[in-house]
Amino acid sequence: MDGIPDLWKCDIAAVGQQLADKSLSPVELTDVMLARIAALDPAVQAFVTVLDESARRRAAAAEREIAAGRYRGPLHGIPIAIKDIYDTKDVKTTCCSRVRQDHVPTQDATVVRRLEDAGAVVLGKVSTHEFAFGFDSTPTRNPWNTEHIPSGSSGGSGAAIAAGLCFAATGSDTGGSIRAPAAANGIAGIKPTYGRVSKYGVAALSWSLDHAGPMARSAKDLAILLSVMAGHDPLDPDTKDVAVQNYAAALTGEIRDVRIGVPSNYFNDDVTPAVAEAFDTAVTHLASMGAQVMAVDVGDLDGALDCMLAIAMAEAAVYHQDSLSGTPDLYGAETRALLEAGALMSASTYLNAQRVRSVVKVSFQRALSGVDVLLTPTQPRTAMKVGETVSRIGPREESVFEVSARFCAPFNLSGLPAASVPCGRCQDDLPIGLQIIGKPFDEAMVLRVADAFQITTDHHRRYPALAG
């Protein structure tokens, strides 16, 4: 760690270049990251399992391949982490639950296989809220301030990247679980279009709302990761056989011809002053780069969060029905109560929630008909304190679940691609996220706007003091 102290601050594109030109060894890089995990993870608690032996073995293999001229591409030799709901062959996949504390899959999730085929070095498994059904990801802490949660459910992924313990991680998003921790930890994450990335081998929370996607430090890195992760998978019937765009080529840094819609309703409601100011500044910045910014009506979203909850609770209850009836005591109290409540959800409520969902989907199609992307704050506030159960913004009181999903869940209902990149910080230095939403299967445009924002701002070049 001493010889290359700032290597962890680099993004994949920069480190990958050094690996490609052989000025940096994958073994050396992996050792740096494993040393950082040993030194810093006791405070962050992002890792559930550290795979030091297999990581070093894979890094050594990468070194041999690169030396022999068999460079696989920008992920070759890059240390990453896998959310512990993704199956990993011969490695425990616990979903951070006693229900699966000894579960060892016999094969990899499709995404894990694709990342490893691209040469990525898996450092270990990172934490999730139990079965991805929540937003605090206990006991993982936010590296910016360990008295705060990292959000979730991909809280381990977000915290590990922010603390410089890995260069990227997988996430999953049912009501905001990639974007909320991306915002809370000051990193980037994208929930791709529903059907863009395979969920085969990823524990389900809600079949019709779940999305798998990457988290990293920059939009450039998301483009590299998504290029590998995206694509039709015959093992996942939800994936669509739609050509994968060239995401890297889309990052032109140019947004003069891009039309940006800012919703005139819903996403302005009950946000903290710091979030409102950071969002307005971000919009003004993008306009100053030549984007056309206009107000758009996104329709009535007042029931969106509840429809997401109704669908998620009912589908999760069905997914868990066998183990919930067989070993209920193995679930955490919160998860068990939510699943039992979901089992009592009436069919008419579930079906009505799906009907409202179809209206929400049409409303966003209309809103996007005259623009290329929508912009909103990712979260109404910054990360809550550990143990805090009620969020208060002005007169509005909400649970952690409600405040975390309020601005994200509409895009799980619609299935639209949505990314979060850091756009500021509040008075106590906690990061704030900017959400960028695109048309179906147009992740390239979402990443183009995100990248243009990042190459002209430095929010993603800030690091928590804990990271060193």
């Binding site: 006693r98 019709s208 969106a304 109704a310 039992e340 979901g342």
Partner: protein, 53 residues
């Protein structure tokens, strides 16, 4: 590193009555979905594809 055990311990320590929270949530979600569906066109179909291909 940690295991699922920590999650369970933390919840117990927090003293939250999660059954009460979930029961309240179930009632609230049910009521709010009914409110939301009352605002949409009553002829709105399910919107889920049953493509036979």
């Amino acid at each position: 590193m940690h295991t699922g055990e920590d999650t369970v311990t933390r919840e117990a320590d927090a003293g939250t009555d999660w059954t009460a929270v979930a029961t309240q949530l179930l009632g609230d979600v049910d009521r709010r979905v009914m409110t939301a569906v009352a605002r949409i066109d009553p002829e709105t179909p399910l919107g889920v594809s049953f493509d036979a291909r």
